[in-house]
Subunit: 200 residues, 2 copies
């Protein structure tokens, strides 16, 4: 047993449960917190205490929210005719950073993954369909799930489901990332880039 | 501003202040905590709250302690004739892991570093001399400061200070690390290994 007090070891133990943090890193972080201003540790403790109490799911889009609706759903300036379907809250953040999208979001909170036993019923698909009822203002649904196997399968599933509703259903473009090199890009990406080529 | 609740952003902000944790990692950790069992976040918060309240410095050796004396100083089975001088609490842990040392420790809580304005008076040197008064049982002092410039300077300074007291003063061996390759070792290490060669 390391020659440290149990309260210190307890903190190391709790930190080491975080993803990507091993015992060594946890120890380094704990020493850093111990050496630093006690207020810093207190603030972090407070933030952790508040996390689950004040962070909820948006009633409409399932993004993180403090109120019933998230800031985006509550914003009357957003374009309600555009609905972007993503997997996780992180994806909303990524898309918002582009500044290109002014519509609303719908979070599935996952992707179809038979390997992990996750089917459409485990995702917020029913809720998506409810938002697209005939009375809704949505004209276009952008399927912005990840470009991996699960994300593609989910997009395909949703496309089949939504097309009959008479909506415009689009998918994010696949191709070379900006700054990408033809020589080093994989076949699938390059094939997608070819298929999706546009007139200049 | 990312489209997240302020309580979530506050946690990301606090996590991102930890060394080696950027905003992206902090966000990943915060999402992990949010998705997981609320008890996990509570436990971590609790451990952080307790840290400064229950972790003190050992009155004798300045290692981390919950009581007045640390577990090592309070252990009557340790060899009081051997005193190992190290820089930080982490070094005690490293030496204890070897299982080779059964004596007591003294922590300097740093090393002499003129570049950073740290002199002998900023370290626990006075306290070390007090422990080595003529009435003490210490026969050998092992200087186990780091093998870097600051650690070497500190060891040299202490050696000059302690030699006149009639104590045996030793320094950790320098040389090839186990599994080390002659070809890839630096000149200084190799020179030290040569100087410190032993008959087999």
């Amino acid at each position: 047993m390391p020659p440290y007090p149990s309260s210190f070891l307890k903190l190391v133990d709790e930190l080491a449960r975080l993803p990507g943090v091993g015992t060594k890193t946890a120890q380094r972080l704990a020493f850093h917190l111990l050496k630093g201003d006690p207020l810093r540790a207190k603030n972090l403790a407070q933030a952790l205490q508040n996390l689950h109490q004040t962070t909820h799911s948006c009633r409409q889009c399932f993004n993180l929210a403090e109120a019933e609706l998230c800031t985006l759903c509550a914003d009357s300036d957003r374009d309600t005719s555009l609905l972007c379907v993503v997997e996780e809250p992180q994806d909303v953040s990524a898309l918002e950073r582009t500044g290109e999208f002014k519509g609303l979001y719908h979070l599935l909170l996952g992707s179809i993954s038979p390997m992990n036993g996750i089917g459409p019923d485990d995702l917020k698909v029913k809720e998506l369909l409810a938002r697209l009822d005939p009375g809704s203002k949505v004209k276009e649904v952008i399927l912005a799930t990840n470009a991996d196997v699960e994300g593609e399968a989910t997009a395909l599933y949703l496309a089949r489901l939504l097309k009959p509703l008479g909506l415009k259903v689009t998918r994010l473009a696949s191709g070379l990332p900006m700054g990408g090199d033809l020589e080093y890009s994989d076949e699938v990406t390059l094939a997608r880039a070819l298929q999706g080529r546009r007139e200049v």
